[in-house]
């Protein structure tokens, strides 16, 4: 349903605003790489804009540091509705190796409602393209959670229902 809403709400080009919330620049470079002629995200209408007021999509790279939280909230408010947030890189998705650092709040979804997650450290440009294409409804999701259990009397593991906080 959300996918259909997205396709209705964004029939034309997505203008993205790229924000660094404490990344090491690895993901930023990959985002720029996606916009080069070789990967060419502009054929999907993706355009990098210089102001959040012009943007439809907020790209968040990096773990959210404490210092950037108020700025990030103001930035999110500056993007006009309807808006999407895409978290790029392991840090923005789940906090990365910094997830329990003293100055890190966590991934981008501790502060913002994130719509699409692109893990990777850094994600390949193809991975970012895959995430964008998934947002546009061109490709299918390829990951799913795995829960397996070994049993003493069986040679093979069986799927199991389990809750992880």
């Amino acid at each position: 349903m959300f996918k259909e809403l997205c396709q209705k709400a964004f029939p034309k080009s997505l203008w993205v605003y790229h924000t660094n919330t404490g990344a090491c620049n690895g993901c930023d470079i990959e985002v720029i790489d996606v916009l080069t002629p070789y990967y060419d995200a502009e054929r999907f209408g993706i355009k990098l804009v210089g102001s959040p007021r012009h943007a439809d999509v907020l790209l968040v790279c990096g773990p959210v540091t404490r210092q950037v939280v108020p700025a990030l909230k103001r930035l999110y408010d500056a993007v006009p509705d309807p808006k999407l947030v895409i978290a790029i890189g392991s840090c923005a998705v789940g906090g990365g190796i910094w997830f329990d650092s003293y100055n890190i709040v966590g991934g981008a979804d501790t502060i913002l409602p994130v719509d699409y997650y692109i893990p990777g450290c850094p994600p390949r440009p193809e991975a970012i393209l895959h995430g964008v294409a998934m947002a546009l409804g061109l490709v299918e999701k390829q990951v799913e959670p795995v829960h397996l259990k070994q049993l003493p009397d069986r040679p093979e593991s069986i799927p199991v229902e389990s809750e992880t906080p």
Binding site: D40, G96, I97, G120, R124, A127, V143, L148
Partner: protein, 162 residues
């Protein structure tokens, strides 16, 4: 002036079409690429070596009871370093070429869990106290990592979607 511009235009035409047709055609990564770390749950012996070396602490171990060791991997913060695959004595972990990991469901999609059956002493379950801390970690029923999704308890309220 015009001649130089024309020359430039011809030079620009020469490379032809360079854009990758990626989402419509597959583009496999190079040979030594490390993608999604896949676990063969049948091979895992539950030694916990992967949990000990993981720099992101994405792999955690919980001993539910004397016979079951739960290995939870929160791969949303995995940095794909491949150390777990290097250290695994049974080669149960392989770094696949899968890089298309984007999801819209959130972090749950990147979670992987394997409950390993650990054999114990048939009579008492725990006959002896292992000598070193390392051996104690190997002993089922000892280790219980705290599984935390985020970092610390955030003092900030998340923004509500409009």
């Amino acid at each position: 002036m015009i001649a130089s511009k024309l020359k430039e235009a011809i030079l620009c035409l020469r490379p032809g079409l360079v854009t990758l047709k990626y989402p419509f055609q597959p583009h496999p990564p190079e040979e030594d690429f490390r993608g999604y770390p896949e676990v063969d749950a049948d091979k895992c012996i539950g030694c916990g070596g992967c949990a000990a070396v993981c720099p992101a602490r994405a792999i955690m171990i919980q001993d539910i009871d004397q016979n079951t060791r739960r290995i939870v991997r929160l791969l949303e913060r995995c940095i794909f370093c491949g150390r777990c695959a290097d250290v695994c004595p049974e080669d149960a972990i392989t770094m696949t070429k899968q890089f298309e990991l984007s999801s819209d469901m959130g972090r749950e999609d990147m979670e992987s869990e394997c409950q390993v059956f650990m054999a114990t002493c048939q009579r008492c379950g725990r006959c002896y106290e292992p000598a070193t801390p390392l051996d104690r970690i190997m002993q089922p029923g000892f280790r219980h990592d705290e599984i935390k999704r985020g970092g610390q308890d955030s003092p900030y309220e998340p923004v509500k979607p409009a």
